[in-house]
């Protein structure tokens, strides 16, 4: 079997007020980043249940990225601080289960930061490409065998 080029799947949760607007701006500015980023718009980063991140990794994603407003700038006053705590917890859990916690990334990207959005998406995709496919999605097969 020939080794296929690894094209990661990265699920992006982008808050409606900042990072979704940044993604719009990156598009409008025709800034390119890999199509590996699979985006979903959420109202606030704080609405992202830790379960969402784990579910994405379980269902096949190689990584997840959560984008919110900068600290102090949250549209919902303090939502991004709550998101920060949740991501910290998910990272701890992943680590204690023996998985890389870098497969969950939290970034503050404001609505005016289209270039930052594109840069983060490019850098993170490159990073995940180097890391290789996530082991987490094979959790179903408890014997440790990889299921194709």
């Amino acid at each position: 079997m020939t080794e296929k080029k690894f094209d990661p799947v990265i699920v992006g949760f982008f808050c409606n007020w900042c990072t979704s607007a940044a993604a719009d701006l990156a598009g409008t500015s025709r800034l390119h980043y890999p199509a590996s980023i699979k985006p979903i718009r959420v109202m606030c980063s704080s609405t992202v249940d830790p379960v969402y991140l784990v579910r994405a990794l379980q269902e096949g994603a190689d990584a997840t990225i959560l984008g919110g407003c900068h600290p102090g700038d949250c549209h919902y006053i303090t939502g991004n601080y709550k998101a920060r705590r949740r991501v910290a917890i998910v990272k701890t859990v992943l680590k204690s289960l023996g998985f890389e916690d870098t497969r969950v990334l939290l970034e503050w990207i404001s609505g005016s930061e289209g270039p930052k959005f594109a840069r983060v998406m490019n850098d993170y995709t490159d990073y995940i490409k180097k890391c290789g496919p996530s082991e987490f999605k094979y959790l179903d097969s408890l014997g440790g065998e990889k299921v194709d």
Binding site: G27, R55, H75
Partner: protein, 668 residues
Amino acid sequence: MAMKRIGVFICHCGRNIAGTVDVKRVAEEIGKREDVAFSTTYVFMCSQPGQKLIEDSVKKYNLDGVVVANCSPTLHEKTMRNAAARAGLNPYRVEIANIREWAAWPHEDNPDAATRKAIRIINATIEKLKANASLEPIEVPVIRRALVIGGGVAGMQAALDIADSGIETILVEKEATIGGNMFRLSETFPTLDCPQCILTPKMNDVAAHPNIKLYTYSEVEDVEGFMGNFKVKIKKKATFVDWDKCTGCGECLRVCPAHADSEFDLKMAKRTSIYIANEQAVPLKALIDENSCIRLQFEKKVKEGKIKPKKNVKICSKCADVCEPNAIHFQNNEEIVEEEVGAIIVATGYEVMPAEAFPELGGKYPDVITSLQFERLLAPSGPTAGIPRRPSDGKVPESIAFVHCVGSRDPQNGVPYCSRICCMYTIKQAMLVKHAMHDAAVYDFYIDIRSNGKGYEEFYHRAKEEYGVNFIRGKVSKVYKVGDKYRVQGVDTLTGRIVEVDVDMVVLATAAKGSSTVKEIAKKLRIPYDEWGWLKETHLKLKPLETPVGGVFIAGAAQFIKDITDSVSQGSGAAAKVMALLSKPELEKEPLLAKVDPEICAGCGRCKDQCAYDAITIDPVRHVSVVNEALCEGCGACSANCPTTAIQVVNFKKGQVVRAIDVLAEVF
């Protein structure tokens, strides 16, 4: 009841989408889904024929849900929802899949990947849409009254404009008179109007307006409620004088033996312990300063048991003795009043940093004062009748140095930003000094002159050319005392030389900051502010008057330091926002809010802890969470913390999001 007859409309957006994404292939792929009854493409979905296509298809195929794959939902979500609504479909059964900004444009270098990503985004959107509920906007009743906090020029303008439209307005001012900082000024740039002349008519209009209820010497104590329905507690501070009886004649001021620094004159003069804020105060009423009144201090000490009064001792009551209307009663008449309003404008204004904060620039010396203090010395109504005198010895100065950017543009010693008004008022003050004392030597140390307003640059040139003010481009490093004079040491960056001048007085244009009371008020209103005390607007460019809290607006320098022109404009602007809000009997609100399933909820309160809007309470009887729909903003922070999925945001339910995630994460 998951939707089974979904229509998917894929937009070409000219060549913007179709140039990269193979829209035909997308429509074919999506059309294979069992739950999709109809899928098609069109060149411009947002055009009239495009909208007609949605309307006709909803009717023709009896669609129960619609996904439009086009541009960002910020652009055309409303358009598409309205189109579906016209065909009888609930608008909340329409979702946008953003395949332009999020697929076609960023991946224009890889059309195949862009096409596959577009399909995936549309599939995820369909999965989310399938469980969408039909919703109606929530109607919230509105109290047709407004509150303005701060009686400076911005707050007065806002109150007058709202009141003129027939809406009752409450104006709360913490000081004993309205007028704000503008009333302290000598003259205004660039017109050299006297603020007392142009502002007093406005102040009297406020006091006399049938639709304005004025609370001076009062503070906002507590705010409850939400847009359209605020309950406000206002503390009327103790004046020890019955204002219904006081005529403002001022007899009491003549006999009072106790003194304190004048608030209005910013410590540039003394006032008596019973005082009227200034001669043109509105309202013109006397009040007693508890901390300096001999009688009230005596009574306080007796009460605390610190002194025991001898029998038949005569305590000072000179003011009451001369008061013909018997208004002075020495009783603590602090009072809390409650008002209900539908909208609030915060116009709390600014303060300047004190001279003492800059000891290296001589702030510790009495003759080194802030520009705002110097305004009082230049004002014809001020303590020196418009001819500046040194605070230390009362001597008329023969030479004055002005220093720009004291604390401004200086993150180490003050603030990082430009305080915006200092260049212009310093130039004005230099001019006024020349008006008052023709032969005075005036030195003006600046970094740059920022004269960005109508008539401002011309004003600067007048000061330079007609008045002979010495402008020196460079920073001042040190001010110290040499004999009777103050030596100002700086550099002239145009000639590259060190400059030293000995002057009688130094005026520091210190940095402006938000009012010191603003943080407290902002916390009560739950609106954000920055570390310098400026209130944070919703959007700096497009929503400068709004705050993230619905129904609360900002006007004037409370948002950031402004000159009078801008403050007045903002006052009127915020008033227009309030009038628009209060013009309807009921407000419509997006129904995408948190909802509790009382069957599952255990009343643990974890959602309540997460809510930044205090929208969640625990019902004490049923012991379940209850969401106040008027307060909830629909962020969903509560739902992420709920251990039982009892609280969820409508149409953003966990099941919906998880199904969308499954599609996005799938490897294929």
